[in-house]
């Protein structure tokens, strides 16, 4: 097995491999200093994002997915939060080191973000057109009329009918799906290299979810944008992502190509997540007689970040936990080709999956 350092740019490799990675996050640490104590919301997370790929970050609520994304954009509220270590390099430039003005020039221009709540992420008293044109006026120095023309094109691109008319409408005149499309138009208006989608479909109707995911996928192909997809929905991951990072209690616990992760999860937490997806047979078999398969859940809840157990933070909820788990945090290492995990008992899990 290799060392525990995650994939990092190979120093000896020619420049070609470096330019292959648009965003490199290394040992990122974001802590919250609160009355309840120190919360290590993001604790040494590293990953690399290749140009044009889709990387999914999954995990339960409160495991640090969103804070990771907000840290990359330097949007974590300070106080209470602070990025205490690590780096996030966009084409080699460390975003963590940039001054406020330089960071603003990156937000919405080279890295943009789609938020979870399309209902409240748009300003209710501004027309859709003005909100989309804002980024264009800021970053591409377009005139108001030119920006509005471009905004109309963007609405067309994200599949909103009658863009000429919609551009003059206010958010309350649009449905939830339409608003999320408008948010996406805002995010991709400046043709960013990286698009962070934080639970882009969680607040939407199931029928709209698929449309929005298709839209993000299509735009990604057309514009060559790399996407970081933050979600708790593994179904979404299976459909859209190429690689997956599983986070638990502020740390990365597993990383693999989608197929490998779904075929043989090497961390019990990932396995728990996969088992808790409802499957159709368990419902259908009800009439035939055999006992109904109950949906499996992961017992317990994510521990308080201010009070993590010693050793592996998942141990208290883990069926495989042994003494070593409760004493020492497992090394994050490459268990199989391209498949990394932080677990003492990955071998048992791999065996169980094959059996």
């Amino acid at each position: 097995m290799k060392a525990c350092l995650p994939p990092s740019p190979d120093k000896t490799a020619p420049a070609q491999t470096v330019s292959d990675r648009v965003l490199e996050v290394e040992e990122l640490r974001t802590y919250f200093y609160t009355r309840g104590g120190l919360m290590k919301a993001v604790d040494g997370v590293s990953f690399a994002l290749k140009r044009g790929e889709t990387l999914a970050i999954v995990g339960e609520s409160g495991c640090g997915k969103s804070v990771t994304a907000l840290s990359i954009l330097r949007l974590v509220a300070d106080p209470p939060g602070r990025i205490v270590g690590g780096s996030a390099r966009l084409d080699g430039v460390d975003l963590i080191e940039l001054d406020a003005a330089a960071m603003r020039a990156i937000r919405g221009n080279r890295i943009s973000m789609i938020f979870q709540e399309p209902m409240t992420s748009l300003n209710p008293v501004m027309t859709i057109g003005r909100q989309i044109s804002e980024a264009l006026i800021l970053h591409q120095a377009l005139s108001r009329t030119a920006a509005m023309r471009r905004a109309t094109e963007m609405l067309q691109l994200v599949g909103i009918p009658e863009p000429q008319q919609r551009i003059r409408e206010y958010p309350h005149q649009l449905s939830g799906g339409m608003r999320q499309r408008a948010m996406i138009a805002m995010a991709v208006a400046c043709n960013p290299e990286v698009l962070i989608a934080d639970e882009p479909t969680s607040a939407l109707d199931v029928t709209i979810q698929a449309q929005i995911l298709d839209l993000i996928g299509r735009l990604q192909k057309e514009l060559g944008t790399a996407v970081i997809l933050i979600t708790h929905d593994l179904g979404v991951v299976a459909e859209t992502a190429e690689r997956v990072i599983v986070m638990y209690a502020g740390r990365k616990v597993e990383e693999a190509p989608v197929a490998a992760l779904f075929a043989s999860p090497l961390h019990p937490y990932t396995r728990g997540l996969l088992n808790s997806i409802p499957r159709l047979p368990s419902i259908e078999r009800r009439s035939d007689g055999p006992p109904v398969q109950r949906l499996q859940e992961i017992p317990g809840i994510v521990p308080a970040l201010s009070n993590l157990p010693p050793g592996c933070s998942f141990a208290p909820r883990c069926a495989f936990a042994s003494d070593v788990c409760r004493q020492a945090y497992p090394r994050y290492e490459e268990k199989q080709g391209g498949h990394w995990a932080a677990c003492w008992h990955s071998d048992k899990l791999a065996g169980a999956a094959n059996a």
Partner: protein, 297 residues
């Protein structure tokens, strides 16, 4: 069972409204009191603008022969002890009232909005100090504040406007600040940050427009009280100086001596003040109803 006539219901909701004229008629039907208020205000503003055309007397010229003349053919609303035409003085007095009300409300809102936005959006020690200053200002009633200001600044139109505007600031600043506090936590502010906007730009472009609805409601109310306070200041001899006619001073000049012998000197300026304040209140209520998002469908 009652039969619902869909056309009638739709008509009430304003589905048939077309164009500006239609919207106006719909507004008058839906908010009849607001329409009355709007008409009073329009009449008031028109009076102030066309004062020269409406009156046939110079409001400042005296004529001892008609001293204390009762309302009649020559002087529609009578004349005061110096023989000045009361109607002309009320009409020209509208100019002073309007100028003071608009000036004071605009100035008070401008300062109040700036302070409220800075205080609410950026917070910190600036917020703390500003809020304590506002606490002190709010401890004094509007009229007392205006009195102190007017007495220290001296009588003139500009000083009257300032004296009335400054006491309005705390109310405006409070409302804008409390709205800003709620608005700055809204996801669209975060989204604006994610687009790369600076904090100052977010405050002006995203937060400020969202505070306009309560501000407009407040401004109409302040408009009425500005007129009242101006009259009160003039009554106490601290308002706009002679020879400009002012409703408040018309009252104070005659209230004590002539209220029994020439009541028209007191009644008509009093009616003018009441009518305009009543009009602003009616209009203000209608605007509040229209801007209330729970009422808008």
């Amino acid at each position: 069972m009652a039969v619902i006539d869909h056309d009638v219901e739709l008509r009430r909701a304003g589905a048939h409204v077309r164009g500006w004229g239609g919207a106006l008629v719909h507004f008058m039907r839906r908010y009849p009191l607001g329409a009355i208020g709007a008409m009073i205000m329009l009449l008031f503003i028109a009076t102030a603008i066309f004062a020269d055309q409406i009156t046939s007397y110079d409001p400042t010229s005296t004529n001892p022969r008609v001293s204390l003349a009762p309302p009649g053919e020559q002087h529609a609303l009578g004349a005061d002890f110096m023989g000045r035409d009361v109607f002309s003085r009320i009409v020209y007095g509208a100019r002073i009232s309007l100028a003071v009300a608009i000036g004071a409300t605009a100035l008070g809102c401008l300062i109040g909005v700036t302070i409220g936005l800075l205080s609410g959006f950026f917070g910190g020690w600036v917020d703390l100090i500003v809020q304590r200053l506002i606490d002190i200002m709010q401890a004094l009633p509007l009229l007392v504040m205006a009195l102190i200001m007017a007495a220290s600044l001296g009588p003139s139109l500009t000083n009257t406007i300032i004296a009335i505007a400054i006491p309005l600031v705390p109310n405006v600043a409070r409302i804008i600040r409390s709205n800003t506090l709620a608005l700055r936590e809204m996801p669209f502010v975060e989204a604006a940050r994610a687009v790369g906007m600076s904090e100052a730009r977010i405050a002006v472009q995203h937060v400020l427009p969202n505070t306009l609805a309560p501000l407009i409601v407040l401004a109409t109310a302040q408009f009425g009280s500005a007129i009242l306070v101006e009259s009160a200041l003039a009554f106490l001899g601290l308002g706009v100086p002679e020879p400009h006619p002012s409703w408040g001073r018309m009252l104070s000049e005659s209230a004590a001596e002539y209220v029994r012998t020439a009541p028209w000197l007191v009644i008509f300026p009093g009616v003018a003040i009441s009518l305009v304040v009543f009009g602003t209140n009616l209009l203000g209520d209608a605007i509040r109803d229209i801007l209330d998002p729970r009422q808008r469908i």
